[in-house]
């Protein structure tokens, strides 16, 4: 049975859902370290969450049943949203492999395999993959879910409450998986072949960016008990709330019947679109996959070659190369958008929680003003290393010979300059531009002094963080987790605290005293110029790096060893 072609193919499809194809053996070994660190962090957060819920439900034990129920509905919406988020994120990351594609067609249809076997194996792999994350997230949340059911146990209705919660939580996760597959299915079937590459990259980036940005909103859900009681309008636009409503409906409570209906309709729609996409692709596999999917939409869709002639030759070429890679590579665009969305999500969360939105004038509360001045600093602090990481992930590693053949002394400095300018645009200019309108609105015209200071701070931070950059973006092998993960986190957090406190103080002073702003701009600008000059001089003297080395003080974990 294990050697049956469909079983072999299913295993192949299943593992390919985890394959990003960018890591060397050393890199894969190193990635295990990072994943283990991430897992440890998730467990720590989970324990903290359980502790919080234990305290909360200990206090709620004495509350009236109505108040208790209101909290349960909101908390169940929160728990379901966590599971939905995990499943949706996994499916979005594997987005390019959810349907059989042209490579599958070219390779597998040449083998003695039927179309039904290929599609069957793909579906089986997809079910296994989705099932793994659905089951994992459900099991992980069982302890917290059980805590919320203490009250039901007291009322002697534990079993029906537990069944209703488990069923709707599972349905919510299945909906998250189906939703992502349905979006991909619509894309495969409806997007014009000529734009498929660009649209697929954009959709995946929007999905990942949206999911990351949704995290602060997920974190707000436990505090929405009153909104559920008041039937707030926005609950109709919040998928986890639909399933919390469905749970109540299953228990015979029609208070949120509207939300329950929405959950059922949404499930049916996502399931139908997924099924239709698969069936239609199955019937038209050859036609759908064999049309040219690499056309970049004709003259209007392809930037003129003249754009390559702008600026210094190597710097211009590298910047253009980077821009096109981010535009057309699914992985790199997702990374760039994901990094920026993570930074934006953190800021969004703080802004949502800041007091003072009811008084938007020059006397806006200190907390809100502080948050608005802190926001671009935090975004830059996260986005600069994030973009650096995105530029480090290789693309077609074996094609880097062309950069190795054409490397020259001035070119090395131009390469460093190109990478710096790219990060400056995405991780410094963009955060400032995103937050500036809000600062003007809340803090008034006085905040105009803040943006040039923010830009100068961002520039210095960029020069400091990119000082040792010695590679053409996307052309060097990448090994994640070269340092000791917890130690790196602690160090980064300490630097972050010092950085945001110091820059927050400087920005407040700059708004109040224009002289301070002018002085800060001059001093920071000079520091940035000195750092840049030194960095470019060093870049000229050092060869470009095309292979990253594992630090010698790390030994492989050898998790696969017998």
């Amino acid at each position: 049975m294990r050697d049956h072609p469909v079983a072999v193919l299913t295993r192949h499809f299943f593992w390919s859902l985890f394959d990003f194809g960018v890591l060397s053996d050393d890199g894969a070994e190193s990635l295990k370290r990072v994943l283990l660190g991430g897992l440890a962090l998730a467990i720590a957060i989970g324990l903290l969450l359980a502790r919080l819920f234990m305290t909360k439900y200990g206090m709620l034990a004495a509350a009236p049943p109505k108040a208790y129920l209101r909290e349960v509905v909101a908390d169940h919406a929160f728990l379901m949203s966590l599971a939905m988020w995990v499943v949706a994120a996994a499916m979005a990351l594997a987005g390019q492999s959810l349907f059989p594609d042209e490579t599958d067609f070219r390779i597998l249809m040449a083998q003695p395999l039927s179309r039904a076997q290929v599609f069957g194996a793909k579906l089986a792999a997809l079910l296994l993959f989705a099932g793994l994350f659905i089951a994992g997230s459900q099991v992980a949340l069982v302890p917290i879910g059980a805590l919320t059911l203490i009250g039901a146990a007291g009322a002697g209705a534990l079993l029906p409450a537990a069944i209703a919660y488990a069923a709707t939580s599972l349905a919510a996760s299945v909906f998250a998986a189906l939703g992502i597959v349905a979006i991909q299915g619509l894309l495969v079937l409806l997007a014009s072949r000529s734009r498929l590459l660009v649209i697929a990259a954009a959709v995946r980036s929007v999905l990942i960016g949206g999911l990351v940005l949704a995290l602060p909103l997920v974190a707000q859900l436990p505090a929405t008990a009153r909104a559920f009681a008041a039937h707030a309008w926005w609950l109709a636009w919040t998928p986890p709330a639909w399933f919390a409503g469905l749970e109540r409906r299953l228990l015979g409570d029609a208070t949120h019947a509207g939300l329950a209906s929405q959950a059922l309709v949404a499930m049916a729609a996502a399931g139908a679109i997924t099924a239709v996409s698969y069936v239609r692709l199955y019937r038209r596999f050859d036609r759908v996959t064999f049309q040219s999917s690499g056309t970049l939409s004709g003259p209007e869709g392809v930037p003129s070659l003249a754009a390559w002639g702008r600026g210094a030759p190597v710097r211009g070429a590298v910047r253009r190369f980077v821009a096109l890679a981010i535009r057309r590579s699914l992985l790199h665009q997702s990374l760039a958008v994901g990094v920026l969305a993570a930074a934006g999500g953190l800021v969004l969360n703080s802004l949502l929680n800041a007091d003072g939105w009811d008084r938007l004038d020059a006397n806006a509360s200190g907390a809100l003003a502080g948050t608005l001045l802190w926001a671009p600093m935090t975004m830059m602090f996260l986005a600069i290393p994030g973009m650096r990481l995105a530029l480090s992930i290789p693309l077609e590693l074996r094609a880097n010979w062309v950069f190795r053949m054409t490397e020259d002394v001035n070119g090395r400095a131009e390469v460093a300059d190109a990478a710096g300018r790219t990060v400056l645009l995405w991780a410094v200019a963009l955060p400032i531009a995103l937050v500036a309108p809000l600062q003007w609105w809340v803090l008034g015209v006085g905040s105009l002094a803040a943006q040039p200071v923010e830009a100068a701070i961002g520039w210095v931070l960029l020069e400091w963080m990119m000082a040792d950059w010695r590679r053409v973006p996307f052309t060097c092998s990448y090994i994640p987790g070269k340092g000791f993960f917890p130690q790196m986190c602690v160090k980064a957090f300490a630097v972050y605290v010092v950085f945001t406190v110091a820059t927050g103080l400087l920005l407040r002073l700059s708004i109040r005293h224009p002289g301070v702003a002018a002085g800060a701009i001059v001093i920071l600008g000079a520091a940035a110029v000195i750092l840049r000059t030194r960095s470019l001089r060093r870049a000229r003297q050092t060869s470009l790096m095309f292979e990253e080395q594992v630090p010698s003080d790390l030994s492989p974990l050898q998790l696969n060893a017998d």
């Binding site: 590459l197 040219s292 999917s293 690499g294 056309t295 970049l296 939409s297 004709g298 003259p299 869709g301 392809v302 070659l305 003249a306 390559w308 002639g309 702008r310 030759p313 190597v314 211009g316 070429a317 253009r320 190369f321 096109l324 890679a325 057309r328 590579s329 693309l395 077609e396 074996r398 094609a399 010979w401 062309v402 950069f403 190795r404 053949m405 054409t406 490397e407 020259d408 002394v409 070119g411």
Partner: protein, 254 residues
Amino acid sequence: MLQARGLTKRYGGTLALDRVSFDLQPGEIVGYLGPNGSGKSTTVNLVVGLLEPTAGEVSLLGIRAADDPIGYKRLIGYVPEEPTLYTHLTAGEYLMLVGRLRRLPASTLQKRVAALLRLLQLHDSRYRSMTTFSKGMRQRVLVASALLHDPQLLVLDEPFSGLDVNAGLLLRTLLQLLASQGRMIFFSTHRFDMVEKLCSRVIVLSSGRIVLERSVDAFARDGDDSLEQAFVHATRQPDFAPLAREILDAISGG
């Protein structure tokens, strides 16, 4: 002139190339033959400057690769064995990238890219990313990128691989024309027919050592072994008939 002297390359304890020496004169086309694993690709990588030799040296027009690797590489056009290029780009974008990295003036480069795309029949595919290109199309892009800066030495690793008959004939004619203008051409291949039709000299490598170096004309003039026979003899290849029979037995057996 290209001069390789005592080129030796070790990978750990493995000796991939052992004291290989040869010259290449302007206007000469040299074919580099050898069985798989004989060290051909290692030689090519050393000649183009992508690898540094463990011992020995290589120089081109008086520039030693070890002393001035940048100046040395500037004189070379290279077509690698595998058509590895940045497939998220279109052919035109890739050529512009390579040309700008080689610091060609933008206006000159644009004209050359347009001409090469047209002449190498890539013009109709100019709006397609190279993800959908066939091996032959990618090979044509690599040939174009190697020619962009009008190099003194062309190093080609299996340049005819994947090319259709017309493109193959065009490349052959082009290489002859380039040689007639004084360019040096060094190409590694498995194809005897191409070596016989194109090259003035052949070098045969086996187990990291040169085992035969001879003018192609000499094979016809002397009337003894054909190039193929000489290759089999020099590289001590086994008798293939029993081997073929064994393979047949293996696939038809239980």
